[in-house]
């Protein structure tokens, strides 16, 4: 009889072929020239090329701004949603997470079309607005989840001991909800940095983000440079998940 731990073997083989090997291929292509010889030229090209660097800086800036705006607008919304005093209906919560389940491309396009009809010129402002629009549900939901599961006795104890409502909020609620904020940041920051298409739609191709130049290089058969850019993104993901290790899983549980 087969041991039950062996049931994972088909999936392990599958993951080696479709997860591990492809990532190794990114590294391999990143350090090869067109003829398959080892080179550092692709990676060093990124660090010396002004265009790539400024695109990267802009993407980083947009990603940080988007994440901050999502926290600033999303946290109060999540707090109100989780507060029984203000919101008792589960439908309101559903309304906030519903956009997560609709194709981002469709929503982005609808937003861009609305801007067009209203006569608003597409540019950095509309890009940021559209990004916030696309990603804020991903910030609200994990924060809402942690806030609604908070043990109320901490806040009540603080109140009983004479803390003012603001003090309770800043010293009890906010620190306890940080894991939710962290998973929200993970679900907003990396995707913003890596989107393509969305930035093209929202700026009429005027502004390119990091994801766009990866896509352009791959599509114009410059696989090695494209892979080098993807490799740099992989490094950033590695670093950022080290900081927020483990939070991702908790956020994904029970997304519906």
């Amino acid at each position: 009889m087969i041991k039950r731990s062996h049931w994972s073997i088909p999936y392990i083989i599958f993951m080696v072929v479709f997860v591990v090997l492809p990532l190794l291929l990114i590294v391999m292509y990143a350090f090869q020239d067109g003829n398959g010889h080892f080179t550092l030229a692709n990676v060093s090209r990124f660090f010396t090329d002004k265009d790539s660097l400024s695109t990267f800086a802009l993407s980083l800036e947009i990603a940080i701004e988007n994440t901050l705006i999502c926290i600033l607008l999303g946290y109060p919304a999540a707090w109100i949603l989780a507060n029984k005093q203000f919101n008792k209906s589960a439908v309101t919560v559903v309304l906030f997470i519903m956009p997560m389940w609709i194709n981002a491309l469709m929503r982005t396009l609808a937003t861009a079309e609305l801007f067009n009809v209203l006569g608003i010129t597409l540019g950095k402002g509309t890009l940021l607005f559209g990004m916030v629009y696309d990603y804020i549900p991903f910030m609200i939901y994990p924060i809402y989840n942690t806030l609604s599961r908070l043990d109320k006795s901490y806040a009540e104890a603080a109140e009983d001991l004479g803390a003012a409502p603001w003090t309770v909020f800043w010293k009890i609620t906010v620190p306890l909800s940080l894991p939710g904020v962290m998973s929200g940041v993970l679900m907003v920051f990396m995707p913003t940095l890596s989107t393509f298409a969305i930035s093209e739609f929202l700026t009429n191709n005027k502004i390119k983000l990091f994801g766009t130049i990866i896509q352009e290089n791959i599509n114009s058969s410059m696989w090695n440079y494209g892979a080098a850019l993807a490799f740099i993104m992989l490094l950033i993901i590695g670093i950022s998940t080290l900081f927020g290790s483990g939070e991702e899983n908790k956020a994904e549980g029970g997304l519906i």
């Binding site: 062996h6 999936y11 392990i12 990114i26 956009p99 609709i102 609808a110 609305l114 993807a230």
Partner: protein
């Protein structure tokens, strides 16, 4: 007063979130080819969409068909592969278990574009021709981890002895699997299947990199190409409206059911 401000804040935010969707929905009921022009109420675009005539209607319909077919196959295979894998991982120990779980997390952490580019290189490396098969394989890759994660908690809750009991009482392993394990794990499998299905439908980046050059379009890639040509196919408006409503109804029904289930289990 406080309550009023809180409510108002929520509704303003919701208003902003839904403005573009409502805008599309309103203009799905007029015939004008250019979005934003109102030429009177008409359901012509809906008729065009379903009969597949006019302005790229048939290409749109086939994109919808591809999207659904790919999502169905990918989520069925993912559910099976992920459930069997979850049983295996649940029974593993120590470092090998941690390693498998780590690799299982990779596709969930990676942005779509990394998954897309890495799989593109995988298929291009041995000159594997890209099309339906590669897109489905790619979707299975990013869907299965969610199935594993949905089934694992159910395994932890389950009494491990009932499967052994079935074997001791003479059930073949396959019988024990279908008659004992699957019914116990069903809620997790359903969640995993639904997650996979929606993620497959929503996907753009991974499909974009793995669909090759045979002209295979899903709804996302169709929209992308269409928008880059400038001027959206007007029939997309009724299609988007239908999808918005469908998702909304499904989510509300699903949540109400979940609330009832929770209330029931608390009442016990």
């Amino acid at each position: 007063m406080k309550k009023f401000i809180a409510k108002a804040y929520l509704w303003i935010l919701l208003g902003l979130l839904y403005a573009p969707l409502v805008f599309i929905a309103i203009f799905s009921f007029t015939e004008a080819r250019v979005l934003g022009n109102w030429t009177g109420f008409s359901t012509q675009l809906y008729t065009n969409l379903f009969t597949g005539n006019a302005g790229g209607g048939s290409a749109l319909l086939s994109a919808v068909r591809n999207t659904l077919l790919i999502a169905l196959i990918a989520s069925l295979v993912s559910t099976l592969l992920g459930t069997v894998a979850a049983v295996g991982i649940h029974n593993m120990k120590g470092r090998s278990k941690a390693a498998v779980q780590f690799v299982n997390n990779i596709p969930m952490i990676n942005p779509d574009i990394i998954t897309g580019v890495s799989l593109f290189l995988l298929f291009v490396f041995p000159h594997f021709s890209q099309g339906y098969v590669t897109v489905v394989l790619a979707h299975i890759t990013f869907c299965t981890p969610y199935v594993v994660l949905s089934v694992m908690p159910k395994l932890a809750q389950m009494n491990p002895n009932i499967y052994e009991a079935a074997l001791d009482l003479g059930a073949k392993p396959s019988q024990a699997f279908w008659k004992v394990l699957v019914p116990e794990l069903r809620p997790g499998m359903v969640t995993g299947f639904l997650l996979s299905f929606t993620m497959s439908i929503d996907d753009f980046a991974v499909t974009f990199f793995t669909r090759g050059t045979i002209g295979l379009d899903t709804l996302s890639t169709y929209i992308y190409t269409d928008a880059r040509k400038g001027g959206l196919t007007p029939e997309l408006r009724p299609l988007m409206t239908i999808i918005f409503l469908l998702v909304l109804v499904l989510l509300v029904v699903f949540n109400i059911r979940q609330h009832r289930a929770v209330a029931k289990s608390q009442a016990k």
